[in-house]
């Protein structure tokens, strides 16, 4: 055979150009050595040509409309200052509200613009400006954020955060009354909002269902301070204005008393009453009638309005709307505490006197930033009925959060040096099996926080918190650390060290060891040995490499492919600086493993494996590296035995590594060993309480275990932890559909779509339409999805639901050929149940080594 056969190549090229089928394997097998690589590339070209031919010929109008994102392209309706008006959202009492595009900051905002004909009068203009000034004083996640106020073209505009969502009144109208649990959860958020407003010296004066938005991510936002008044001014002037919606107003307002924090809380009580009953405690058609009823003390107690509510909740609402102000709650904090209790959860701190103290402390918090968000999220989690904190006692310390050590060097570039020491300290302590050490990702959220240690400990569910400082001057460094037992406020251990910078590693070991001794935790002989300074694998890493590694993990924890690519870059940078830095290779492996979708499994996993093996070679005691290897054995090699051995080895080496437990839990759930899986997930969660990935995986495991209600409880708070993430919507919709809760599933899909188009969400849409009997619609969506490269494994169950079992199997086989990761759940996934009795399913499982 000639070295290259031009005629053969041309013939193949013609087939590609014509779009006729080619047996590529045979073509490559019979080709000369030189032509083989060319033929391999022709095969790629053939795939490319097929894809282009398969693109929909004309715009798919139906799907297009179903995405309901028409607003993005809505034509501009004018400009005001630096804002482009996109769409009128509605009209308020004093002007119109638009969705607008901020050209400077490139974001959407809500713009309240005074009508041109009204802005002549100073009064109206100053009203909007006033609203802005008032709101700008408050910064709280549950209160709408004001960006600015300005006068332009003789029009006054106030622009603020654009909240996409629906008002509680709209939700009430659409879905009927809320459950007591849901209302209480909303009430807790609103208490926090009001606490912030009151702390700023303001009164809202118009708390009502129309003024509270539930954002698409689930966040509760109190809006419209249009009638808000400066409390001090009201005190001075004593002007009893009848602003606000009458049915929500406290009785004393009608007899001339000024609005106050208590009247806001009364309105909140009415709001809660309204949410659960759809009605109002004092019902009237005219203001006069309303006044008379208030005067006559006529009102309908919540129990009479709706009989099935929990007594605890009824009691809280009735107290909030007591006619006599003195009988009501004195502060938002007090109402909040009772709402939390009414939810029926164990309450974190229950010393009787502490409630007031907690209320006070809360007002001192500087709101804003991730720490606040985390704290709020945790309250919501508590509200969702999850496992919660035990009552603190002065018992032994078995769990620690190491807060990021503060950099006192006065040099921002030393920041990562301090973070690196924090990381090492966490790593050293995490190796102690008897001690639970909060992972860096959760602990880092509290960097620079103004929360008290008690609040942080509460959020992370730990017995003690370690805080400290790092100072570097020349080649000397000083580390001070202070371990506080939270329940007793006792300083368990307080030390200061000064050393040569080059002794950093030894020092970190010493600090960890001395903490372990300080809290009298039992160390195994191996752990004792690990604290020996000359432990094998212990190696000084340059701060620059450490920094790159930490940056890499930061991106890696975010998970979207873009972030993973950034992570990869950082890990490789760390390797370049420090070629023997084992952790960096483990990081690289993990980044590649998670990039197996975009890069394809055959490209990504071999690279992941090479990196992981290098990491083990460099440091045979590195739990992280064995975790990487285990995940590759699971996700790519499908060698269950090896995967399990390596996970266990990883956990033995580093019991405090959250990812090891997380991934082991994922593996066990795919194997159908749910009980063991749950134990791993609970461990992972306790090590990294704020990690959204762990929570999402755990929710999925519960779904696989057919524990749907628990899955819902686990997945729902994900909206609050990361409102921009779309998979929580998809995963929740999937569970709802499995439960036959069509309406709830529909709502999740609709909300998820608002964030943007997302293939897997459309898979659920197809399933939904299939379940509703809209076969044609379902098939249409599926055929579009099929052409877009969504994993065949995802759509196979929907075809099965539509009765096209053959096609379902064809798709499953394709997924197998393409080594799609999700296929690993074939053994347990509930929506495949209808296929299980088919012999073809068994043979698929056998191919995967997952026989029933």
């Amino acid at each position: 055979m000639s070295r290259s056969d031009a005629a053969v190549l041309l013939k193949l090229a013609e087939s590609i150009a014509d779009g006729s089928a080619v047996d590529w394997e045979a073509a490559e097998a019979s080709a000369s050595h030189d032509d083989k690589p060319v033929i391999r590339q022709m095969r790629v070209l053939s795939g490319l040509a097929v894809l282009h031919r398969s693109l929909p010929k004309e715009s798919i109008a139906g799907l297009d409309a179903s995405f309901a994102r028409r607003d993005v392209a809505a034509p501009a309706i004018g400009n005001w200052a630096h804002l482009t008006l996109v769409e009128r959202l509605g009209g308020g009492a004093f002007g119109d509200v638009y969705r607008a595009w901020d050209r400077n900051l490139e974001r959407h905002v809500a713009l309240k613009l005074l009508r041109a004909d009204e802005s002549d009068g100073d009064l109206s203009a100053s009203r909007i400006a006033n609203e802005g000034r008032l709101l700008a004083r408050v910064s709280h996640p549950n209160v709408i954020t004001v960006h600015g106020v300005a006068v332009h073209d003789d029009r006054v505009g106030l622009w603020m955060e654009l909240v996409r969502g629906t008002t509680l009144e709209q939700q009430l109208a659409a879905n009927g009354p809320f459950s007591a649990r849901e209302a209480a959860a909303i009430g807790i958020d609103l208490c926090r909002a009001l606490a912030a407003i009151h702390a700023a010296g303001l009164i809202h004066r118009d708390v009502k269902a129309q003024n509270v938005m539930r954002a698409d991510g689930g966040r509760i936002v109190l809006m419209d301070l249009g009638t808000g008044r400066d409390a001090s001014r009201i005190m001075r002037q004593g002007v009893p204005e009848m602003a606000g919606t009458p049915l929500y107003l406290a009785p004393e307002i009608f007899v001339g008393s000024p609005a106050s924090a208590r009247t806001d809380l009364y309105s909140l009580g009415v709001l809660l009453y309204h949410l659960v009953s759809g009605s109002f405690p004092v019902r009237a058609i005219t203001i006069d009638q309303l006044k008379k009823k208030h005067a006559g003390g006529e009102f309908v107690g919540l129990r009479d309005a709706r009989a099935d509510l929990p007594t605890a909740f009824v009691r809280v609402v009735d107290r909030a709307i007591a006619p006599e102000p003195a009988k009501r709650y004195a502060s938002a904090g007090a109402l909040e505490a009772d709402l939390v209790e009414a939810l029926g959860e164990p309450i974190p701190v229950r010393e009787p006197k502490s409630r007031v103290a907690v209320g006070k402390a809360r007002r001192n918090i500087v709101w804003g930033g991730t720490a606040t968000f985390a704290a709020v999220a945790i309250v919501v989690l508590a509200a969702m009925g999850l496992r919660w904190l035990p009552i603190f006692s002065g018992g032994p310390i078995r769990s620690i959060a190491v807060l990021p050590l503060a950099n006192l060097s006065g040099d921002a570039t030393q920041e990562f040096f301090a973070d690196g020491i924090t990381e090492q300290l966490i790593g050293n302590l995490a190796r102690i099996n008897a001690l639970r050490v909060i992972s860096r990702t959760s602990a880092m959220r509290f960097k620079g926080t103004k929360l008290s240690l008690k609040e942080i400990a509460k959020a992370l569910n730990v017995d003690a918190v370690l805080e400290g400082t790092v100072q570097v001057a020349g080649d000397r460094m000083r580390i001070s650390a202070d371990l506080v037992q939270v329940s007793t406020d006792r300083h368990v251990w307080l030390e200061s060290y000064e050393r040569d910078v080059r002794d950093m590693l030894a020092l970190e070991n010493e600090v960890a060891h001395s903490i372990a001794e300080g809290i009298k935790v039992k160390l195994t002989p191996q752990e004792q040995a690990g604290f020996a300074v000359s432990a094998p694998g212990a190696r000084q890493v340059s701060p620059a490499a450490q920094e790159a590694y930490l940056q890499g993990r930061f991106f890696w924890n975010k998970r979207p492919p873009d972030a993973l690519r950034q992570a990869l870059e950082q890990f490789q940078k760390a390797e370049a600086i420090e070629p023997t830095f084992a952790l960096a290779y483990a990081g690289e492996a993990d980044a590649y493993s998670l990039l197996s979708g975009p890069l394809t499994a055959d490209v990504a996993f071999p690279r992941a494996k090479a990196a992981a093996q290098r990491a083990v070679q460099l440091d045979p005691a590195l739990g992280e590296a064995y975790t990487s290897l285990a995940f590759i054995a699971f996700g790519y090699d499908r060698d269950w035995k090896q995967a399990e051995q390596r996970f266990q080895q990883a956990i033995r080496l580093n019991p405090g590594y959250a990812t090891a437990h997380h991934w082991y839990g994922v593996f066990l759930s795919a194997m159908g060993r749910f009980q063991e899986s749950e134990a791993e997930f609970l461990r992972a969660k306790s090590l990294d309480p704020l990690a959204t990935n762990i929570r999402a995986s755990f929710g999925d495991m519960l779904y696989m275990a057919r524990r749907y209600d628990e899955a819902i409880a686990e997945l729902r708070p994900a909206h609050d932890l990361d409102p921009s993430a779309q998979n929580p919507y998809r995963n929740l919709a999937r569970v709802y559909l499995q439960k036959g809760m069509i309406r709830e599933a529909e709502a999740e899909i609709a909300q998820g779509r608002r964030i943007g188009p997302y293939a897997n969400l459309e898979v659920e849409f197809a399933r939904l339409t299939a379940m509703k009997g809209q076969r044609t619609e379902a098939l249409r969506t599926l055929s579009i999805l099929e052409s877009t490269g969504v994993s065949p494994f995802e759509i196979a169950p929907v075809y099965a639901a539509l009765g096209d079992v053959d096609h379902a199997f064809e798709l499953l086989r394709r997924a197998e050929r393409e080594r799609r990761g999700a296929l690993l759940w074939a053994k347990v996934q509930p929506d495949l149940d209808s296929l299980r009795s088919d012999p073809r399913f068994n043979s698929l499982l056998q191919t995967l080594g997952l026989s029933q």
């Binding site: 013609e14 715009s59 197996s596 490269g789």
Partner: protein, 242 residues
């Protein structure tokens, strides 16, 4: 755009769009209803009449020249000719669900407008060259957009192992690296080779269309040109890999 441009004098591309309402018309669906000139341009591969092709080719060059000098009618006709295939093509290149079709339309249209604005840098040899030029402009634009779109949807299934919802259908089909290799190799081909591949493989034109776009005498000649170019491309790609 917006209120101000409507008031401005009707010259240049921006004015053309504002005046014809093209943007809105295009969104309403496919079809050719903005091609309102006295002599409709045929762009179907079914006709084999040589003289008709000739007319078409001439018209394209002419249209480019006229569009360069600010003729809005000429620009609209160019749109009518190229947008449908470019839009369809772009739907394969955009991150899968990062945009719905409407956004794709906007992006393609906007990019074409900008590209035509800079068209004085383009030497109109034949239609295929223009198609390749516009296609490259969109490739660049998509690259920018993807870079800008920091927030892509999170992985889909069980946290790990999910397919990438941020990938385009094409990336999903052949993989990110293969696509990059393809683009790099394509850029190293001779312009006619590149144009042949774009017209046939990417834009899915009939051989008749390709002949017309490349100025080839017959459909068969076009088929040969495409096939030879494919061989060259595969060789380039395999070279790259070594």
């Amino acid at each position: 755009m917006g209120l101000k441009s409507k008031r401005s004098v009707a010259t240049g591309v921006g004015a053309a769009i504002a005046m014809t309402g093209l943007k809105i018309t295009l969104q309403s669906g496919p079809g050719n209803h903005y091609d309102t000139g006295p002599r409709p341009i045929r762009y179907s591969g079914t006709s084999a009449l040589m003289d008709e092709q000739r007319v078409s080719v001439d018209t394209t060059c002419e249209l480019v020249e006229r569009a360069k000098s600010g003729d809005s009618d000429a620009l609209n006709r160019l749109f009518a000719r190229f947008l449908p295939s470019l839009r369809r093509w772009a739907s394969g290149r955009l991150p899968r669900w990062s945009r719905d079709l409407m956004d794709t339309d906007d992006l393609v249209q906007e990019t074409v407008v900008r590209a035509v604005k800079r068209i004085d840098r383009f030497e109109s040899r034949h239609e295929g060259a223009l198609q390749a030029y516009l296609r490259q402009a969109i490739v660049n634009r998509i690259r920018d957009e993807v870079r800008r779109a920091k927030r892509s949807p999170a992985p889909a299934v069980l946290d790990e192992n999910a397919s990438d919802p941020g990938a385009s259908p094409l990336e999903a089909a052949i993989g990110e690296e293969a696509l990059q290799r393809y683009e790099d190799a394509l850029a190293r081909l001779r312009p006619e080779e590149r144009e042949a591949i774009i017209a046939r493989v990417e834009m899915d034109g009939s051989y008749q269309d390709v002949a017309q776009a490349l100025g080839k005498p017959s459909a068969d000649a076009a088929r040969m040109a495409v096939s030879r170019a494919l061989v060259r491309l595969a060789q380039e790609m395999s070279r790259e890999q070594v």
